[in-house]
C-alpha cells in the first residue's frame, strides 16, 4: 500500500515538473535518474507481492513512465543517462566474469558445448525456417527472391537469438540462487553471447555480399577480429591491473573498479572494443588466474550495483513500444514461441546427450530465454549494416525483445525457486557486512 502511494506521489510530482518546462536541461537528467531509481525500486516491490520477479517491476516502471505510455520521462531527459547503460554493462560483465569459476564450470563443459550446438545454433536454424514460413506476414519480404529472403531470414534469426547475462545476473542476485542450474545458466548465456557475436559477424558479412550491399568482407573480418580478440586482450590487461591494485593498494578498490568501468564504457566503444567482453574477460581473469583475492573486491562492488540495475532496467523498459508490439503481435508471438520451443528442445537434447543433472535438464533452457544487452546492441548494428531492411528488423527485434523481457524473468525466477537454488547464496550488503546488517534481507 505504501509502495503504491509512493509511486502515485512520485508520478504526480513528475507530472507537475512536466508542466513547468519542456526543456529538460541538466536538472532533467538528475530528475529522471532519481525518478527512475525510485519507481523501479517500488515497482519491483509491488510486483514482487504478486509473485513476480522484481526485475519485471523495474521494466514495467520504465514502460509506464516512458514515451509510449505516460511520457513522464522524455527522451531528452535520459539522453545523458546513456552513460548508465555503458557503466551498467561493464559492472555486469565484471561481476558475471568473476562469478564464472572455471573449475566449477569444467564438469559441465560438455553440456555447455552441446547447448551451444543444439540450443543456440539449432535455434538459429529453426528461426530462419520460421521466418521464411511467415514471410507473407512481414512486408520486408515482398517481391524478394528466395535467396534474398533466406539471407535476410538468416541475419534476422541470428539477431533474434542473443541471451541476457544482465537479466540472469540480476535474477541470481535477487533470488540469491547458487547451484548447478544457476552456474550453467550463467556460463551458457555468457558463452552464447560470444558465439552469437561471432556468428552474427560472419552472417552479416556473407549476407552483405549476397545482397550486394558492397561490404568489404576482409575489412569486416578484420574489424570483428579486433573487436573480439582486442576486447579479450584488453580485458586481460584490465584484469591484471585490477589484481595489481587489489594486492598493492587494497583500500578503495571498489572505487577504482568503478573508475575502470567508466573508462572502459566510454573509451571502449570509441576504439571499437566491446565493453561487455572486456569486463567479462577481466572478471574471469580475476577469479581464475589472478593471485589477488578478487572475491572481496567483486562482492563489495556487487553489493552496490542495485541502483545501477534499477535505472538500467527502467531505461530498457522505456524503449518498449507497446503500439508497435500490438501491430506486430502475430509475427512477434510466433517468433517468440518458436525461439522458446527451439531453445527448450535444443537444450533438453543437449542435456540428455551429455547426461546432465536432472535440474539442469529441466530448467536450464529457461535461462536462455531473457534478452537485453546484446540484442539492443544488434538493433543498432543491423540498422546501420542493412539499411534496406534494418529499420523493420529493428522493430521486429525490439518487439520480440520486449515480449521476452516481460515473460522470461518470471519463468527464470520460477526455475531458480523450483530447482531449490534460490536463497543459497550469502549476500553482501552495502556499508556493512552481511552478518551485521540491521535488516537482513
Amino acid at each position: 500500500m505504501i509502495a503504491l502511494l509512493i509511486l502515485l506521489v512520485v508520478g504526480g510530482m513528475m507530472h507537475a515538473a512536466g508542466t513547468f518546462a519542456t526543456d529538460a536541461g541538466t536538472a532533467g537528467t538528475l530528475l529522471a535518474f532519481g525518478y527512475l531509481l525510485l519507481v523501479a525500486y517500488f515497482g519491483g516491490r509491488v510486483v514482487s507481492r504478486l509473485g513476480l520477479p522484481q526485475l519485471t517491476g523495474y521494466l514495467l516502471a520504465g514502460v509506464v513512465s516512458g514515451p509510449f505510455v505516460l511520457d513522464l520521462v522524455t527522451s531528452p531527459m535520459t539522453a545523458k543517462l546513456r552513460v548508465v547503460n555503458g557503466v551498467a554493462t561493464c559492472i555486469l560483465g565484471l561481476v558475471a566474469g568473476a562469478e564464472l569459476n572455471l573449475a566449477r564450470v569444467r564438469p559441465i563443459a560438455r553440456t555447455l558445448v552441446a547447448i551451444m550446438i543444439f540450443g543456440v545454433i539449432g535455434t538459429i536454424l529453426v528461426l530462419t525456417g520460421v521466418l521464411y514460413g511467415i514471410r507473407s506476414m512481414l512486408p520486408i519480404f515482398d517481391g524478394l527472391g528466395t535467396t534474398e529472403t533466406l539471407v535476410i531470414c538468416g541475419v534476422l534469426a541470428v539477431a533474434l537469438i542473443p541471451q541476457s547475462p544482465a537479466i540472469v545476473m540480476a535474477l541470481i542476485s535477487e533470488t540469491r540462487a547458487d547451484g548447478p542450474v544457476s552456474q550453467l545458466v550463467l556460463a551458457a548465456v555468457v558463452v552464447a553471447d560470444l558465439v552469437v557475436v561471432v556468428i552474427y559477424s560472419l552472417v552479416a558479412a556473407v549476407g552483405s555480399a549476397l545482397l550486394g550491399a558492397g561490404v568489404d568482407v576482409a575489412g569486416t573480418a578484420l574489424a570483428i577480429g579486433w573487436e573480439l580478440l582486442g576486447s579479450v586482450a584488453f580485458g586481460v590487461a584490465i584484469g591484471m591491473l585490477l589484481g595489481l591494485f587489489v594486492r598493492a593498494v587494497k583500500d578503495g578498490a571498489p572505487l577504482f573498479a568503478l573508475m575502470v568501468c567508466i573508462v572502459v564504457a566510454e573509451i571502449g566503444v570509441r576504439i571499437h572494443l566491446d565493453p561487455l567482453i572486456v569486463m567479462l574477460t577481466a572478471g574471469i581473469w580475476l577469479e581464475n588466474f589472478s593471485r589477488a583475492d578478487a572475491s572481496s573486491l567483486v562482492h563489495r562492488f556487487e553489493s552496490a550495483q542495485l541502483p545501477v540495475f534499477l535505472v538500467w532496467f527502467a531505461l530498457a523498459g522505456m524503449r518498449l513500444d507497446l503500439i508497435q508490439l500490438y501491430e506486430l503481435a502475430l509475427p512477434v508471438g510466433i517468433i517468440a514461441a518458436a525461439r522458446a520451443l527451439s531453445l527448450y528442445g535444443g537444450t533438453t537434447l543437449a542435456c540428455m546427450q551429455t547426461n546432465a543433472a536432472a535440474p539442469i535438464t529441466r530448467y536450464g533452457w529457461i535461462g536462455l530465454l531473457p534478452q537485453a544487452g546484446l540484442s539492443l546492441a544488434l538493433v543498432v548494428v543491423i540498422q546501420s549494416s542493412f539499411p534496406a531492411f534494418g529499420g523493420f528488423a529493428a522493430l521486429l527485434m525490439l518487439s520480440v525483445l520486449g515480449l521476452n523481457q516481460m515473460i522470461a524473468p518470471v519463468l527464470l525466477r520460477i526455475a531458480f525457486v523450483r530447482s531449490g537454488e534460490a536463497g543459497k547464496k550469502v549476500a553482501a550488503d552495502f556499508a556493512t557486512s552481511a552478518t551485521s546488517a540491521n535488516h537482513p534481507p
Partner: protein
C-alpha cells in the same frame, strides 16, 4: 500510534501538499496558456464549440459553457423523435393508408417502421435520414435504399458504422471522409495506401515513417516525405539514393559528409554537390581519391594538404605520392581528445582520492592545516589546473556534463546538514543561544554585504541591477556561516550537550545560508517558464517541495530491507528532490535541507542507516565540490582578489561586533568561548556553486571572493587561535575507518 498509521498520516499530508503544488502549477499554466493544461482546455473549447454552431468560437468560453452547448446540440438532434407518439400506425398502415398520409396524421417513423413500412417508402415520403437513423434504421438498410454515403455522413453517421456495413475505403474516400477519420476508425495504413491515399497525406495526418515502412510503403521519397524524417526513421542513405534522392538533398537534410562517404557516395558526386575539399578530408576521403575525382594540385595545396605542390603534380601524373594521413589524423584526433578528457577526469579523481590518503592528511596536520578548505586545497588546485585551456580536461562541455552530479552533490549536502538538525537536541541548547546566533550571523551578513556591495559599485556595477543585489546577499550569507576549527566531516557537525559552542553555532548559523538561498532563488529568478508566480510564492513552492520530498523520503525509508536497498532509496530520494528543485530553478540545497530536517525529526528507526549511507558518499561528494569549485574559479579575475580582503575584514568586523553585542547581554561560558576569527562553512562554497549553477552568470569574482576569503580565514585561524575543541580529530580518511568498523 503504530508506525503504519503514522506513515499513512504523513503520506496523506504529502499528497495534499502535492495536490496544492500541482494546483498552483495548473493555475499558473492556465494563466499563461502554458504547455500543460492550457492545451487541453483549448482543445476542449474547440471540440465543444464546433458542434454547438451558435457558440461564439472566438470568445473564450469556459468548459462548463461548452458542455452545456454540446448538450443543447444533442437535445436538438433528438427533438424530432420526441413527438413520436404511438398512434396505432400499424392499424393505419394495414388499412392501406399511404405513408405520407400517416405521417401527416402524426404517426411517428418508428411506429411506421414497426408496422412494416419500408425505408424507401419513408424516404420517398420525405422522411429525413436523421429521423430514420434516430428511429433505429441501420446504415446497411439506408444504403440498400439508395441513400448515398455523403448523405449519411451529413446525417452524422460515423466511419466505423460504414466499415461495419461493408462500405469500402475507396467509397468512403470518394465521399470525402478524411484520412485521419479512417485511421481513427481502425483502417490499416496499407489498406489506405492500396486505396490510393498518398504517402504525403498519410504523413500529414500523423502516420509515422516507421509505420509506413512496416506497411510496405517503398515510395516515401517520391511521395515527398521529408528526407530528415526518413533518416530519423532509420532509412539508410543507400535506400534514399536508390530512390533518387540527390546528394545535395541529403546534405540539406542535415546528413553529414562522413555518413555519405561511408555509404559509398562517390567523391565526384560530393564535390559536384558543393562539398569542399576540407570537409571531404575531414570525413575520411583519402588524397588519392580526391585526386582521382579530379581535385587539382592547387586546390589541395590551398587547403594545406601538401607543403610541396609539385608533389601533387606528380600525383596527378600518376607518380607515387606519400601524402600525410590527414584522415587518420583527424579521426584519431577526436578519439584521442575523448580519451584524454575521460582519462584526465579519472586520473583527477584518483589523484584526489589518493590526495586524501591518511598520510597526506597527517602531513597537512603537521603543517597545522586542518580546516575544511585548506585541507582540501590541493583538490581545488587540481580543479583550477584541469580547467586551464592548455590542459583542457575540465572544459565547459565536460563541466556541463558533470552538472547533474553537481546538483546531486548540492542536494546531498543540504540533506546531510538538515538531517543533523535534531529539534529535540536543540531544545537543550544553553540560554542566550538564539540571541548570540542572531547577532553573530546578522552583523557579519550586513557588514560584508554592505562592504562588498560598495566595492562592486565602485567596479562599475549598478545598484539598480538585480544580479548585484543577488551577489551581495550571497556574499553576506556566505560570511555569516562558520565552520568548526577542525573539519570532522559533513556528517559529524551535530551539536550535543557537552560539545563546544563553536560546534553549536556552526550548526545553527548554516540556517542563515539556507534562508539566504531561499530568498535568492525566489526573488532573483531570471528565466521565464510556464509557472508564472509572484516571487514570494516561490518561497512557498520551495518549502512545499521540501516538505513533500521529506515526507516522501521518510515514507520510503520504511520499505527497504537491506542496506543496499537503503542506498538505492536514499540515493533516489535525494536525486529526485535535487532534480526536482533544479528543474524548477530552485536550490537543491534548500529543498533537501528541509527534507533532511523532516526525515530526522519524524520518529523512525532508520536514522542510523541513513547516516551510514550518507557517510559512504561523503568523500566523493566532498572531492567533487572542491574540484568543481576549482574548475569554475576564474583565478585571473583581479576584481575577485580585491574583494577577498574586503570580504574577510568585513566578516571579522561583523563577528567582532556580534561578540561585543553578545557580551553586553550575556556573560557566561558560551560567550567567552567565541573567537574573533572563525573559518568559513563549506556551505558557503556550496552556496556560491549553487548560485553559479542556477544562474550561470559571469560574476566569477564572487567565487574568488568566497574561496579566497575561506582560505585566508582558515590561515588566520591557524595562526591566531589555538584549538579549543576538545573533541578528537576526525579527518576525511577516518571516515573509512568508521565504515569498516
Amino acid at each position: 500510534m503504530k508506525p503504519r498509521h503514522l506513515t499513512a498520516a504523513l503520506v496523506v499530508p504529502a499528497l495534499a501538499a502535492l495536490a496544492i503544488t500541482t494546483w498552483i502549477a495548473t493555475a499558473a499554466a492556465d494563466e499563461v496558456g502554458g504547455p500543460g493544461d492550457g492545451g487541453v482546455d483549448a482543445a476542449t473549447h474547440v471540440d465543444a464549440g464546433a458542434p454547438a454552431r451558435d457558440a461564439d468560437l472566438g470568445a473564450p468560453i469556459g468548459r462548463d459553457a461548452a458542455i452545456r452547448a454540446a448538450t443543447r446540440r444533442d437535445a436538438g438532434v433528438r427533438a424530432p423523435v420526441l413527438h413520436d407518439a404511438d398512434l396505432g400506425a400499424s392499424t393505419h398502415h394495414d388499412a392501406g393508408a399511404d405513408v405520407p398520409a400517416l405521417l401527416d396524421a402524426g404517426v411517428g417513423v418508428p411506429a411506421l417502421l414497426e408496422a412494416g413500412a419500408g425505408v424507401p417508402a419513408l424516404l420517398e415520403a420525405g422522411v429525413g435520414v436523421p429521423a430514420l437513423l434516430d428511429a433505429g434504421v441501420g446504415v446497411p438498410a439506408l444504403l440498400e435504399a439508395g441513400v448515398g454515403v455523403r448523405a449519411l455522413l451529413g446525417a452524422g453517421v460515423g466511419v466505423p458504422a460504414f466499415l461495419e456495413a461493408g462500405v469500402g475505403v475507396p467509397a468512403l474516400l470518394e465521399a470525402g471522409v478524411e484520412t485521419r477519420a479512417l485511421l481513427d476508425a481502425g483502417v490499416r495504413v496499407h489498406t489506405l495506401v492500396d486505396a490510393g491515399v498518398g504517402v504525403r497525406a498519410l504523413v500529414e495526418v500523423g502516420v509515422t515513417v516507421p509505420t509506413l515502412i512496416v506497411a510496405g510503403v517503398r515510395t516515401l521519397v517520391v511521395a515527398g516525405v521529408g528526407i530528415r524524417e526518413l533518416i530519423d526513421a532509420g532509412v539508410g542513405v543507400r535506400t534514399l539514393r536508390d530512390a533518387g534522392v540527390s546528394v545535395r538533398a541529403l546534405l540539406d537534410a542535415g546528413l553529414g559528409v562522413r555518413a555519405l562517404v561511408d555509404a559509398a557516395v562517390g567523391v565526384r558526386e560530393l564535390l559536384e554537390a558543393g562539398v569542399g575539399v576540407p570537409a571531404l578530408i575531414h570525413a575520411g576521403v583519402s588524397v588519392p581519391s580526391l585526386v582521382e575525382a579530379g581535385v587539382t594540385a592547387p586546390e589541395l595545396a590551398a587547403v594545406g594538404i601538401f607543403d610541396n605542390v609539385a608533389g601533387v603534380g606528380d600525383a596527378n601524373s600518376g607518380a607515387v605520392v606519400e601524402p600525410p594521413s590527414v584522415t587518420a589524423k583527424t579521426t584519431s584526433e577526436s578519439t584521442l581528445f575523448a580519451i584524454k578528457v575521460i582519462g584526465g577526469l579519472v586520473a583527477l579523481l584518483m589523484l584526489a582520492y589518493l590526495g586524501a590518503h591518511h598520510r597526506v592528511v597527517r602531513f597537512q596536520a603537521r603543517l597545522g592545516i586542518s580546516g575544511v578548505i585548506t585541507a582540501g586545497f590541493p583538490f581545488v588546485a587540481l580543479g583550477v589546473v584541469a580547467a586551464l585551456p592548455s590542459v583542457g580536461i575540465l572544459t565547459g562541455d565536460v563541466l556541463e556534463n558533470m552538472r547533474p552530479l553537481l546538483l546531486f552533490g548540492l542536494g546531498w549536502l543540504g540533506f546531510i546538514i538538515g538531517a543533523q538538525l535534531d529539534i529535540r537536541v536543540l531544545e537543550r541548547v544553553p540560554r542566550g543561544t538564539a540571541y548570540m546566533l542572531l547577532v553573530e550571523s546578522l552583523l557579519p551578513f550586513v557588514l560584508t554585504a554592505a562592504a562588498c556591495g560598495g566595492v562592486m559599485i565602485a567596479f562599475g556595477s549598478s545598484w539598480r541591477d538585480l544580479p548585484m543585489w543577488r551577489d551581495v546577499v550571497l556574499l553576506g550569507a556566505a560570511a555569516a556561516m562558520t565552520a568548526p576549527r577542525r573539519f570532522r566531516g559533513f556528517s559529524r557537525q551535530m551539536w550535543r550537550e557537552g560539545r563546544s559552542a563553536d560546534v553549536l553555532l556552526t550548526q545553527l548559523d548554516e540556517l542563515v545560508g539556507v534562508i539566504g538561498l531561499v530568498f535568492i532563488t525566489a526573488y532573483f529568478r531570471t528565466s521565464s517558464t510556464a509557472w508564472q508566480l509572484p516571487d514570494t510564492a516561490w518561497i512557498f513552492v520551495s518549502l512545499g517541495i521540501g516538505v513533500v520530498a521529506g515526507t516522501l523520503i521518510f515514507a520510503m525509508l520504511r520499505i527497504p530491507a537491506s542496506n543496499v536497498e537503503f542506498l538505492a532509496v536514499v540515493l533516489g530520494g535525494i536525486a529526485f528532490a535535487s532534480g526536482f528543485a533544479g528543474y524548477l530553478r530552485l536550490s537543491p540545497i534548500v529543498v533537501c535541507f528541509i527534507a533532511g530536517v523532516l526525515v530526522t525529526n519524524f520518529p523512525n528507526d532508520a536514522r542510523e542507516n541513513v547516516f551510514r549511507i550518507l557517510r559512504q558518499l561523503e568523500r566523493p561528494v566532498h572531492l567533487l565540490f572542491l574540484i568543481i569549485a576549482g574548475a569554475v574559479w576564474s583565478v585571473t579575475d583581479w576584481r575577485g582578489w580585491v574583494l577577498v580582503p574586503v570580504f574577510v575584514l568585513a566578516r571579522v568586523a561583523g563577528k567582532w561586533l556580534g561578540i561585543v553585542a553578545s557580551r553586553r547581554v550575556l556573560d557566561d561560558k558560551l560567550v567567552r568561548e567565541r573567537t574573533l576569527i572563525t573559518p568559513l562553512s563549506v556551505l558557503s562554497i556550496a552556496l556560491v556553486i549553487s548560485v553559479e549553477n542556477t544562474y550561470s552568470g559571469n560574476d566569477t569574482w564572487i567565487v574568488t571572493a568566497v574561496i579566497g576569503g575561506a582560505i585566508v580565514s582558515e590561515l588566520l585561524v591557524v595562526r591566531r587561535t589555538p584549538s579549543t575543541d576538545s573533541d578528537p580529530d576526525a579527518h576525511i580518511d577516518e571516515l573509512d575507518k568508521d565504515s569498516r568498523q
